[in-house]
Amino acid sequence: MTIPPFERFYEEHRGIVFAVLARRLGRPAAEDAFQETFLRALRAYPRLEHGDHLRAWVLTIAGRVAIDALRRKEVPLARDEGRTDERPVYAQLEHLADGLPPTERAAVVLRYGYDLEYADIADALGSTPDAARQAASSGVRRLRRKETQ
């Protein structure tokens, strides 16, 4: 897929990015994070090599911005409590999920890394909640198989 002019990309994905950030950070913090997400996307945009999975790409940026915002507020991440590994869940997962097909990778990272509902993931991937659930679970199965190999 060719990479669209930034305006098209922004218009298409700003709604879900804002919704995801508002859910994770609450409204006021989400506003700063929203701006930071799209500024980071703008900085990286000239280096993009194709226009596939732009929604998953921008949500990954939003996820990182949200983590940074939570860290700055020194709000501990609930999912990280008690872990000895310093890296946040999303970062570990993104690394682990690197070898998965793009849709499964996005579904796994968004579900287990960013804790999104399947309805949100479906929005992000342009599919249905059922398809998102399926992509996440076949991604997880594939990861398990990889682990046991």
Binding site: I3, P4, P5, F6, E7, R8, Y10, R14, G15, I16, F18, A19, A22, E31, F34, Q35, F38, L39, L42, R43, Y45, P46, E117, A119, D120, D123
Partner: protein, 190 residues
């Protein structure tokens, strides 16, 4: 889940993107007595005015010419909006805007540079402009350059008429050419 983005936040992002110099092209659609105008600028200057404000098509063209970071950013073209308003209200005869003609090649660029010197309220002919651009026999090529002028109004192709004095043609349509010349008080063919 489709929470709409608050308008103030959307505007803040667009302004920040332009202020941080992250855009290849900033544009907006501005009102004018001749209808809505699409205006676009790069860091180097004004690069496009179109009477046909179809952002989708123009975004693609601008992305190809200048880079894909094309964003509607009204504040980044405030100076263009202000000067156009002044012009249409008769308060301004010359534009102080920088223009970016990097996407225009060779002879066409020479012609547009020469065109910028045609004064307010005066007309010239395709042949004269060809001569002043160093190719006296290239009246037809000048016609093409006028037709493809990326920055009408500011680069005043409406001031170029046929040898007989007839208005001949205009990318934005003859009624607009006539309206611009009337605004400037130019002598029109009877």
């Amino acid at each position: 889940m489709s929470t709409s983005v608050p308008i103030a936040l959307d505007e803040r992002f667009r302004a920040a993107a332009a202020a941080e110099g992250l855009l290849d092209v900033a544009y907006d659609v501005v009102d004018s007595p001749l209808g809505p105008l699409f205006v676009a600028a790069t860091e180097r200057g004004l690069c496009r005015i179109s009477f046909d404000p179809e952002p989708d098509r123009l975004e693609e063209l601008l992305a190809r010419a200048f880079g894909r970071r094309v964003l509607r950013a009204p504040r980044a073209v405030d100076d263009v909006r202000r000067e156009l308003d002044d012009y249409f209200e008769g308060r301004r005869q010359d534009f102080d805007l920088r223009v970016d003609l990097t996407a225009v090649g060779g002879f066409h660029r020479d012609v547009l540079t020469e065109l910028a010197r045609v004064p307010y309220g005066r007309t010239t002919t395709y042949g004269e402009l060809a001569a002043r651009s160093g190719r006296p026999r290239a009246a037809r090529a000048v016609g093409t350059a006028m037709n493809r002028n990326p920055i009408p109004i500011v680069l005043p192709c409406h001031r170029v008429v046929g040898a007989s004095g007839k208005l001949v043609g205009y990318g934005g349509g003859l009624p607009r050419k006539e309206a611009l010349l009337r605004l400037e008080g130019a002598t029109l063919p009877s």
